[in-house]
Symmetry: C2
Subunit: 201 residues, 2 copies
């Protein structure tokens, strides 16, 4: 049931759209590298979904840019905004290309895996079980960075994505967390997220 996002003109600020495109495109590179590294279809599918989202954002941004340019000077300065948004779009395409290697089940050469391996940091994708001690808490309450050395870089909630979530953002049951941290840290996060409802929490 993959539907194309229906695009409507929404009066969102150009700044917000640009920041979102920039952040998502950077996240996509990380996700794509990890997808290749761990042969993860799930991560690869996330990348493809975000690529569609970037296209929607680019459309909205271009609408807004056109409506905003009122004189020659402003139009020229706004050309820079368009160039940045199209660069973010290219970056997201590149990430999608990598994700497609994984989805097409082309064997990932050990060289690629080696090139993507980061000794210091691991990326993890984990679904929060309803009974998990993470569920219903804000990131500020959980203090995952200081307690287990893990940074939540995105939350996927159904079709919605929260990129670079803030302290006030709440983790809900069935959220998918994308987080980065030390090997022990991400293991601990996985344990916490998957502590089942049977055990309560």
């Amino acid at each position: 049931m993959v539907e194309l996002e229906k695009i409507e003109y929404k009066p969102v600020s150009i700044r917000d759209l640009l920041v979102e495109m920039k952040n998502i495109s950077e996240l996509m590179i990380d996700l794509a590298y990890s997808a290749a590294l761990f042969h993860s279809r799930e991560l690869a599918e996330d990348v493809i979904e975000l690529e569609r989202h970037i296209d929607t954002l680019a459309y909205r941004l271009n609408m807004n840019v056109m409506l905003a340019a009122r004189d020659i000077e402003e139009a020229e300065a706004l050309l820079g905004v368009s160039a940045v948004s199209s660069a973010a779009d290219k970056i997201s395409d590149a990430a999608a290309d990598i994700a497609n290697i994984v989805l097409r089940k082309i064997g990932i050469h050990p060289i690629v895996r080696e090139a993507f391996k980061r000794v210091e940091e691991q990326l993890i994708r984990v679904r929060v079980k309803p009974g998990s001690p993470l569920s219903g808490k804000t990131l500020a309450e959980l203090e995952l960075a200081s307690k287990i050395g893990v940074d939540v870089i995105a939350i996927r909630r159904g079709e919605r994505w929260i990129i670079n979530p803030k302290g006030k953002d709440l983790i809900k049951p069935d959220d998918v967390l994308i987080a980065r941290g030390t090997l022990n840290g991400v293991k601990e996060l996985k344990k916490l997220a998957e502590e089942g409802s049977e055990a309560g929490g």
Copy 2:
């Protein structure tokens, strides 16, 4: 005196080429964003130069990949390597697009600057004067990360680039350091790098 790099077939490992392309393309995005943020022609020119370097690496990598594929299975796995290298190439193109906004002197809209501003971290590009206390020391000896909270992410030595330098790498007079850190940290690094030869060091 811009010359195209003369490309020769050098038997470098595919892994090394891929790692270098990946690292450079990531660095280029950071440099391009900072170039736009600070209206820095120097950073923008670095990006353009690295873009040419990426093209050379891509050429060498493709040569090596073709020579390495000896049977169908290996050829298929190596397709993944090519896909990753072409993704790094796309990313570097996107970075060059952003750098070109700066070089073409199109006004950078305040929105772009705002989108690229990172409160936590600053990027700096600084040339090491011959008398600087940094000159002639290895990164391990200097301990810049722990002492002033700054991470040297690249060293440019004439036409050569050292990306993600290691502790054993030496800083030489006239090296250009590209470093990331807190505002105070990068200020301190600039001071150290520019302590002149007059004062000795």
